[in-house]
Symmetry: C2
Subunit: 355 residues, 2 copies
C-alpha cells in the first residue's frame, strides 16, 4: 500500500494492463476480486495515473429489463465506436433466479463484441465487503481507459444501491409490473435516480406509472449530494463539507430535473432518447460543477471502505487479537465476562486510543 | 464499556429490567436499538448475571407462513405456561410487502397475551450493522429471564441468516410454492437448518418437497460448527479451535439427523410434533456437548461484531481521522493520491501497528 513500492508479483499483469491488454485487465480484476497479495498496491498504481471515464449505472427491481436496456444502450454506443466496460452485479437470489437468467441470456448478444468487456459479479454471501470489491472492479475498468463503463445492479438492497452510487449517472429502470412510484420510493430508488426509464412501455399500466413517477419527483428536488447515506452514524457529506457546494448550485438554479422516459428495449424504441438524456445529464454534471462534488464524495466513500476493510483485516489476522478472542470466549463461558469486556481488551490492543 | 462502571443514566431502567419489569425491558431494547450512550455498559451489566435461555429461530422465504408457525408454537408454549420473548425481523422490502403484512396480521392473535413480549425490528438500510443490534436485542431478551426466546427472520439475505444463527435450534419453514430443495440449498438454508418444516402440507407439491429435502439432507451431515461462515476471510471456527470438538462428536456417532416435518399452521396440524422435535434437538444439544460449542461460537461472533462496530465508531468519530479523510479527498482530486494512500495515512493514525 506504499505508493512507491512496486506491485509484487504483478509486474507482467500491470504492464499488460497499462498497455491496454484485455487479458491484463481480466487478470487484474481476478487479483482484486480475490484480494490476492498486493491487490491494493495494484489499484493504487493504476488509479494514480489512470483516466476518469464516464460511468453510467442501471438499477431497478428484478425483471424490469435492465439487462435488455444495457444491451440496447451498449449496442448504440458501439455504433458510435465507443469502447465499453460493463460490470453486471448478480444477486443470485434463489427466489428470483429465473428472471435474472432470462435477462442474462439477452446480454449474450453483445458478449462476443471485442469492443465490449463484460464482467459479472455475484453479491451473495457478502456482508457489504463485496460492495467494496465491486467498486474496485469499476475503478479498474475506469483506469483501463474504456470510453464508458456501464454498471448494472438489481436495486433490491443496500449493497446494490451502494454500487450504483459509484456511477456518475444513474438510470433507474422500472416496468408497470414492478409496482408503483411509492414502492420505488420505499426501495430508495428515488434517491439514486438521475433518469427514470419505464421499460416495456407498451404494456397497460405504463402511462400511469410514468404519471405517478412525475408527480412523486415533483415533490422532491434532484439527486443532491446531501443524500450521501449516513454510514454507521457518520454523515460523510457533512464531514467533507460537501453541503455548501450542493446548496450553491441550487441557488444558481442549476438543479437537475429528473426526467421520466419510456422505452421498449426489445424493439429499441426510446433508446436514442435515453442516450441523449444521459449526455444531457453529463453536460449538467460538468457545467454545474456537480461532477467534481460527486467524485469527491465517491473518493471519500472509497477511502472509508478501504479503511473499514483494512481495520478488520488487521484485527482478525493478528495472532494477539485471536488470542484475546479465545480468552474472551473462555471468560464468557465461565460467566466472568461478556462480549463487551472481551471487545474492550481487543480494542485496547488494536487502537492507538479509544474514543 | 468498563466492567465496573455504573450504567450512566440508565439506573432506573436497569433496576426495572433486573426486577423483571416488561417496561424496563422495552426501554432497554430502545436504548440498545438506538445505540444511546451507555448501551454497551447496559448490555455488559445484564449479560454478566443474566440467565441463558432456550432460543429457537424460525426462518424461510417470504410467504412460507413463518409468522403463523411462530404464532401456533407460541400459543402451544403458553399452554405449558412458558413466558416468551419474540423477536421478529422484518425485511420491509417493497417488493414483498404484501406477503409480509399478511403474516404480521396473524401475529396479532398472540400480541395481546401478557405472557408474550413481541418486538419487531426492520433490517432495511443497514449494512450488517443491524444484524449486530438484533443479536443484542435477542441477548437482552435472553438475559431478561424468559423461558424461551423465539426469533423469526426471512431467510433471504446474509443479515437474516446471521441473526438466525443466534438461535440454538433453527427451524426452516418452506412451502411447496417457495421452490424446491435445490433452491433452499442455494439460499444457504440447508446450512442453518436443525429442523425443516414443510408448511401448508395439504397443498399439492408438499410430498414431493418433503422427499426432495430428505434426499438432499441425506447427502450432507448435520449442522456442524465447521460451517460458521468465514467473516472477511477470517475463519472464526478455526481461530477458536472449534473444529476438533465438532469432529469428536461425529466420531462418537452423535450427529443430529435433520428431520423434515409437515405442518398446517392454520389448523394446528403438526405443531405438537414440531414442539417435540425442538425438545429432542435441545436434549441432543445438551447431551452431545454441542450447546457449549454453539455458545462459544456465538460468543466469538458477538465479540467480533462489537470490535468491528467499535473500530468504525472510533475511526469515524475522530476529528483527526476526518481531517485526514478531507485531506485524502483533496489529494485524490488533485491526482496526487488514491483511496489506498489516503487510507494508509488514516490507518497509521488509528492502529497501534499495521499487519
Amino acid at each position: 500500500m506504499k505508493s512507491k513500492r512496486p506491485v509484487p508479483g504483478h509486474q507482467v499483469l500491470l504492464q499488460g494492463f497499462l498497455e491496454g491488454s484485455v487479458r491484463g485487465l481480466a487478470r487484474a480484476i481476478s487479483v482484486v476480486e480475490n484480494e490476492r497479495d498486493g491487490f491494493q498496491d495494484l489499484l493504487h498504481t493504476v488509479m494514480t495515473s489512470g483516466p476518469q471515464t464516464k460511468r453510467v449505472g442501471f438499477t431497478g427491481p428484478p425483471g424490469a429489463g435492465k439487462s435488455s436496456i444495457v444491451a440496447a444502450v451498449a449496442t448504440a454506443y458501439r455504433g458510435l465506436e465507443e469502447h465499453l466496460g460493463i460490470v453486471a452485479v448478480d444477486p443470485t437470489s434463489p427466489y428470483s433466479g429465473g428472471a435474472l437468467l432470462g435477462d442474462r441470456i439477452r446480454m449474450n448478444d453483445i458478449a462476443t463484441d471485442p469492443g465490449i468487456f463484460i464482467r459479472s459479479m455475484a453479491t451473495r454471501g457478502s456482508l457489504g465487503g463485496l460492495a467494496t470489491a465491486t467498486k474496485e472492479v469499476v475503478d479498474l475498468m475506469d483506469s483501463f481507459g474504456f470510453d464508458r463503463v456501464l454498471v448494472e445492479t438489481v436495486g433490491v438492497g443496500q449493497t446494490e444501491l451502494e454500487v450504483t452510487a459509484a456511477a456518475d449517472t444513474v438510470v433507474v429502470v422500472l416496468v408497470p409490473e414492478s409496482g408503483d412510484a411509492i414502492q420505488a420510493m420505499k426501495a430508495g430508488l428515488m434517491e439514486v435516480a438521475d433518469i427514470f426509464v419505464v421499460n416495456k412501455a407498451d404494456r397497460p399500466g405504463a402511462p400511469r406509472l410514468v404519471k405517478e413517477l412525475r408527480q412523486a419527483l415533483h415533490l422532491r428536488s434532484g439527486r443532491a449530494l446531501r443524500d450521501i447515506p449516513a454510514h454507521h452514524g457518520v454523515d460523510l457529506g457533512k464531514a467533507m463539507k460537501l453541503e455548501r457546494v450542493s446548496d450553491a448550485s441550487e441557488q444558481e438554479g442549476e438543479e437537475w430535473a429528473v426526467p421520466v422516459l419510456t422505452t421498449n428495449a426489445l424493439t429499441g424504441e426510446g433508446v436514442d432518447k435515453l442516450l441523449e438524456t444521459v449526455e444531457a445529464h453529463r453536460r449538467w454534471l460538468v457545467e454545474s460543477g456537480e461532477l467534481g462534488v460527486l467524485r469527491r464524495a465517491r473518493s471519500g466513500i472509497r477511502i472509508r471502505d478501504v479503511v473499514d476493510r483494512e481495520m478488520r483485516r488487521v484485527a482478525w489476522n493478528s495472532e494477539r487479537v485471536n488470542g484475546l478472542l479465545t480468552q474472551g470466549v473462555e471468560e464468557i463461558a465461565l460467566g466472568r465476562g461478556t462480549p463487551y469486556s472481551a471487545a474492550d481488551n481487543i480494542l485496547r490492543a488494536l487502537l492507538r486510543q479509544r474514543a
